[in-house]
């Protein structure tokens, strides 16, 4: 699991390293660290770290070690890897149709986010919309592709997806 934690460590030499070594003690893998010397609370400096650990047991062990080393955990949460795909729709439809389509899509997969933009020029009666959708798994992406493909085919809309 990928985890992001906001830690506060004492502003003393060696404290940064001291707060990070416990991650390797639980076989974790650090993917990003931001050491923010501007953000000081009670003479403690903020360290934002993202790391991978095998499971919750490993995470609990890590929390215990941090506590024993007087590292304050201000915030901790899972970081999800997301998958983004672009869909372009060309045809005769309204913005309300697209909203409805997205609503139906969110019943098929859990949409983390979605964004729609439309072509500015509308010289013909056809319209062009570009949807950017974010989902949690590659399987959801496949499901979303299938959903858009069949929904667009039914409504006579040309559908173009990203790579």
């Amino acid at each position: 699991m990928l985890v992001n934690a906001e830690l506060y460590v004492k502003d003393l030499p060696g404290q940064l390293v001291d707060s990070l070594t416990p991650i390797s003690m639980v076989d974790g893998n650090i993917t990003a660290v931001v050491h923010d010397r501007e953000q000081i609370v009670n003479q403690r400096i903020c360290v934002n770290v993202t790391f991978e650990v095998a499971d919750n047991k490993g995470l609990d062990r890590l929390k215990a070690i941090w506590k024993s080393k007087d590292v304050m955990i201000a915030r901790m949460g899972s970081v999800y890897e997301t998958h983004t795909m672009e869909y372009m729709l060309i045809g005769k439809f309204s913005a309300a149709n697209v909203e409805k389509l997205l609503e139906e899509a969110s019943n098929v997969v859990s949409l983390e986010s979605s964004d729609v933009s439309y072509s500015s020029k509308n010289a013909t009666s056809t319209r062009t919309a570009m949807i950017t959708a974010e989902v949690l798994t590659p399987e959801d992406l496949e499901k979303l592709d299938r959903f858009f493909r069949s929904a667009c085919r039914e409504s006579g809309i040309v559908y173009i997806r990203g790579l």
């Binding site: 060309i90 933009s117 439309y118 072509s119 319209r127 173009i160 997806r161 990203g162 790579l163």
Partner: protein, 329 residues
């Protein structure tokens, strides 16, 4: 050689150009003993002069003096050990090409072809026939012209597990879409492609994605060992792509390209949104492909997908592979 049009004549010229190379590598010439166009043939067991044939075809419109009805009867009348099949593609029936290739393989002759029709319709049957009769059957130029994709997968990447191939397999569509990137409408871009000689008077095969679909079938069967045919491809062409769609893609830093996608589970030709700068975002008439394999990761190639000498270069590479093989065994 069956067919003496653009590719056939190009290959004849390449044979003349590489005469010394072949002689040096194999200690003998590659003799062209019979050449057919649609209605005539020329034959000589001692070998025809390739450049004379090209000159004759140019001046008289015919490659030979003898008229014929049935290419199989012509092949029965000459001694040969390899057929280069470069007659027109017919994706509905396989055409004369399918007949000639089948006869050659049944007669235990090696075959090189760039004709997509027989491959897209009867791949499994032809490969089995070649295997049964211990013939070599190669078709590098049928996908991507000069871009070496089939032999790359079969030879250089033989130890890899190939997960997918995605590519631009039709230069005409890519030309039209790149012209649309520069502000032309679909109709204007198609007209220009026709004037430049890239698109046929009837452009259906290209713009509706049928030509790319044939190539996707050839890759699915030859690289992924699938047993699919033209009708199994999910095809969407580019004729409904509007200028607005191109502009909206550009506003999002993307281009639209007609992409063939082949994997153990996918077989599709459709327009796709490609980020600018991606290997498949190339402009112009080039073909391109991205092969993803387990050890090597993504490998990108691009090259000229059509043309007289370019397609002949793919035939030459197949000829050399066959002659090398014969030398070894």
């Amino acid at each position: 050689m069956a067919g003496f049009g653009t590719v056939g004549q190009g290959f004849a010229e390449v044979l003349a150009l590489r005469k010394d190379f072949i002689k040096e590598r194999y200690g003998e010439d590659a003799r062209l003993v019979c050449v057919m166009d649609s209605s005539t043939y020329a034959a000589d067991p001692d070998g025809l002069d390739p450049l004379e044939l090209v000159a004759r075809k140019k001046s008289t419109g015919k490659v030979g003096d003898v008229r014929y009805q049935d290419s199989v009867e012509v092949m029965k009348s000459v001694e040969f050990d390899l057929l280069v099949e470069v007659s027109p593609t017919d994706v509905k029936t396989g055409g004369a090409g399918l007949k000639s290739i089948t006869f050659a393989l049944e007669s235990k002759k090696d075959v090189i072809t760039v004709n997509k029709g027989p491959l897209a319709l009867k791949f499994g049957e032809l490969v089995s026939l070649a295997r049964k009769n211990r013939c070599k059957f190669r078709f590098e130029g049928s996908v991507g012209g000069a871009m070496p994709i089939i032999n790359l997968c079969h030879e250089n990447l033989v130890g890899e597990k190939i997960a997918s191939i995605r590519g631009i397999f039709n230069g005409t569509c890519n030309y039209i879409l790149s012209k649309m990137d520069n502000g032309q409408t679909f109709e204007q871009a198609l007209k220009e492609a026709q004037q430049m000689g890239y698109a046929e008077t009837d452009p259906t095969n290209d713009i509706e994605g049928y030509d790319s679909a044939c190539k996707a079938v050839i890759l699915a069967n030859s690289v992924f060992g699938r047993d699919v045919t033209f009708s199994d491809v999910e095809i969407t062409g580019i004729s409904s792509i509007t200028s607005e769609a191109i502009a909206l893609a550009a506003a999002n830093n993307m281009v639209i390209r007609l992409i063939g996608e082949v994997s153990p589970t996918k077989l599709e030709v459709s327009p796709r949104l490609i980020p600018k700068g991606h290997p498949l975002s190339i402009a112009g008439t080039l073909n391109a492909a991205q092969i993803v394999s387990d050890l090597a990761g993504p490998i990108s190639i691009s090259g000229r997908g059509a043309g007289r000498k370019e397609t002949a270069s793919a035939i030459l590479s197949d000829l050399i592979a066959i002659m090398d093989d014969r030398k070894r065994t």
